[in-house]
């Protein structure tokens, strides 16, 4: 089990973070939105009006 990073190491990585998290979150959220829009246009709207 890790005993914890040194201040120096943490300082080093914090120059990059959160670029990777941002990229991952944006990618997954983008896929989510794309999936939703696909269902919206290809399945939902074609099934017709109801009210």
């Amino acid at each position: 089990m890790a005993t914890g990073p040194s201040d120096q190491d943490l300082e080093r990585v914090m120059r990059e973070v959160p670029r990777g998290a941002f990229a991952l979150a944006a990618l997954t959220t983008g896929l989510l939105l794309a999936g939703w829009l696909l269902v919206y246009f290809l399945i939902f709207l074609p099934r017709g009006m109801v009210s």
Partner: protein, 543 residues
């Protein structure tokens, strides 16, 4: 640890035993629905099984897991003994008694009403009284959590409550608000009907009261998993929690927005207006925000860990993570299932789009994936993480733990992905046997069998989980770590936090405002428009 050890053991074992039974029932139910002939199958046994499966997973596994893990956090995160342990044991006894009462009633065929109870279908009163006891037990737990946090704050004036406990108490506060809906429905409508005191009931009102509870309850279930994400996963990965402040804010947002959204379960109901349905859809859209924030915050926390281990570039830190550690593996698998399950949820909540999926297998797919998948896989990870400190022994085999987690993930996808398709094809819910002679239905048959295979994999995984826990009892190596070592440190551990992120007074006031806004008229309308009542239909008559 003073009192928590035995309390946590007791609660978690009840949870996991109920869960294992639920898995067996679930597989049998899927067998019954498939083209393959299943044994013991009648409408009565099927719907009793569905009631038992739902009660065991949605009420027993969850409540006992939340309570047991809560006692663990209260002692280990606050580093002080639990207040009033005798009351914790009284609550446990009440919860077990209630569970047994409900289960016996279901198994004797007197409660085929499903865990969402469909009034005016009314079961034997002992089913509902059993659930009342479980809820009463959980209320005692809520009070104990509030007292524990209050005591710690008085002993540590001005200091921030440790995040794990802050989140646990946020969950307790939210649960007290959540149970009001179902408590009112049971107390004023269902139980009087079950006792024969009322022959009629207002079904629109009961559905609306139940919807108050129905969405927020899933956040009651998922918060322990999110507590693991924020307070255990960064530590397990060898990194730091990106932001303690955002962690607090996330749990506050759940408290606020998990409650005034229940009408999204009634979007297809005729007794509520488009205006309030749309309002609650908008609020539901807001409750997706704390989860989207979590993806980023935990992603950043894992990124710290990955880069510390030498990962470089935009995504290289992902491969560099210590995936051999069960807590890290579970998190990765949980987030994959969160993506798919969250997608399903977004479709469900999209107002008019709900018509495309309501009461089809799509819904079944969604909640099995998001709860059975994302939330429960983290329950496994939590158990594996705390078992060494509970048993005093080190984990005998991490490889078997990883195998169990992988089987759970694979089984969940194999089971739920076909259900999404079947739902869009029109396969509807709560069916004991399908008429596979009908050509439309016959086309579904192969997918139903694929789904069944997924269920069998899940059962195997569930049994392996129990085996993995039992194996600790014969493990040789003593556990070397103190419970506190499980908890993560933030990049900037706060010396102080604002009172609003250290307590719940403001948030309780806001919840009240939101609930009056969102549920005020939707409930009041039943007392204004005189809606005719429906006759009670008892399901517990012996035929």
């Amino acid at each position: 640890m003073t009192h928590a050890r035995n309390l946590t053991f007791a609660h978690l074992w009840v949870a996991f035993i109920a869960f294992t039974i639920a898995l067996v029932l679930g597989v049998w139910q899927m067998w019954a629905r498939s083209p393959l002939p299943a044994p013991f199958l009648t409408a009565s046994t099927y719907f009793s099984s569905v009631t038992a499966h739902g009660t065991a997973t949605a009420y027993v596994l969850t409540t006992f897991m939340v309570m047991g893990f809560g006692y663990y956090v209260a002692e280990t995160a606050l580093a002080r003994p639990l207040p009033a342990p005798r009351w914790a044991w009284i609550a446990f006894a009440l919860g077990v008694a209630g569970t047994l009462m409900a289960v016996v009633t279901i198994l004797t065929g007197r409660a085929a009403v499903l865990f969402t109870f469909y009034p005016p279908l009314i079961a034997s009163v002992f089913y509902y009284l059993g659930l009342v006891l479980v809820v009463a037990a959980s209320w005692i737990w809520c009070v104990l959590m509030l007292i524990a946090m209050g005591q710690w704050k008085r002993a540590n004036p001005g200091r921030p409550v440790p995040l794990a406990m802050f989140a646990t108490v946020a969950n307790a506060v939210m649960w007290l608000w959540t149970t009001v809906g179902v408590a009112a429905e049971l107390l004023f409508q269902v139980i009087p009907a079950a006792l024969g005191l009322k022959a009629e009931m207002d079904v629109g009102l009961s559905r609306t009261l139940f919807s108050w509870t129905l969405h927020a309850i899933v956040y009651f279930w998922l918060i322990p998993s999110y507590i693991a994400f924020y307070t255990m996963v960064p530590q397990a990965a060898g990194g730091r929690l990106y932001s303690d402040t955002m962690g607090r804010l996330t749990f506050v947002l759940f408290l606020l927005y998990s409650l005034p959204v229940g009408l999204h379960h009634l979007l297809m109901d005729p007794q509520q207006s488009n205006a309030f349905k749309f309002l609650q859809v908008a609020l539901t859209a807001l409750v997706s925000v704390p989860t989207l924030l979590t993806v980023f915050t935990i992603g950043a926390s894992l990124e710290i860990a990955g880069r510390l281990r030498g990962g470089r570039g935009l995504f290289g830190w992902i491969a560099a993570l210590p995936w051999e550690r069960p807590m890290v593996l579970a998190t990765g698998l949980a987030f994959l299932m969160l993506g798919l399950g969250g997608f399903g949820g977004l479709i469900n909540m999209s107002y008019g789009m709900n018509a495309m999926v309501h009461n089809t297998s799509w819904v079944t797919a969604h909640f099995h994936l998001i709860f059975g998948g994302t939330v429960v896989i983290m329950y496994f990870a939590i158990a594996y993480a705390i078992w060494p400190t509970l048993t005093g022994r080190a984990a005998p085999s991490l490889a078997l733990q990883r195998l169990q987690l992988w089987l759970w993930f694979i089984g969940m996808l194999v089971m739920t992905l076909p259900w999404h398709t079947l739902g869009l094809l029109g396969q509807w819910r709560r069916v004991a046997t399908f008429n596979y002679a009908d050509p439309i239905i016959a086309a579904w048959g192969p997918w139903v069998i694929v789904s069944l295979i997924g269920g069998v994999i899940l059962l195997a995984s569930g049994l392996l989980f129990v085996y993995n826990l039992l194996e600790f009892n014969v493990a040789r190596e003593p556990n070397a770590e103190a419970p506190g070592a499980l908890y993560a440190t933030a990049v900037h551990p706060p010396a102080r936090v604002p009172a609003t992120l250290n307590g719940f007074r403001l948030w309780n006031a806001l919840v009240l405002v939101l609930m009056v806004l969102a549920y005020g008229y939707p409930l009041a309308q039943f007392f204004i428009i005189k809606s005719p009542e429906a006759l009670v239909h008892r399901v517990d008559e012996r035929r």
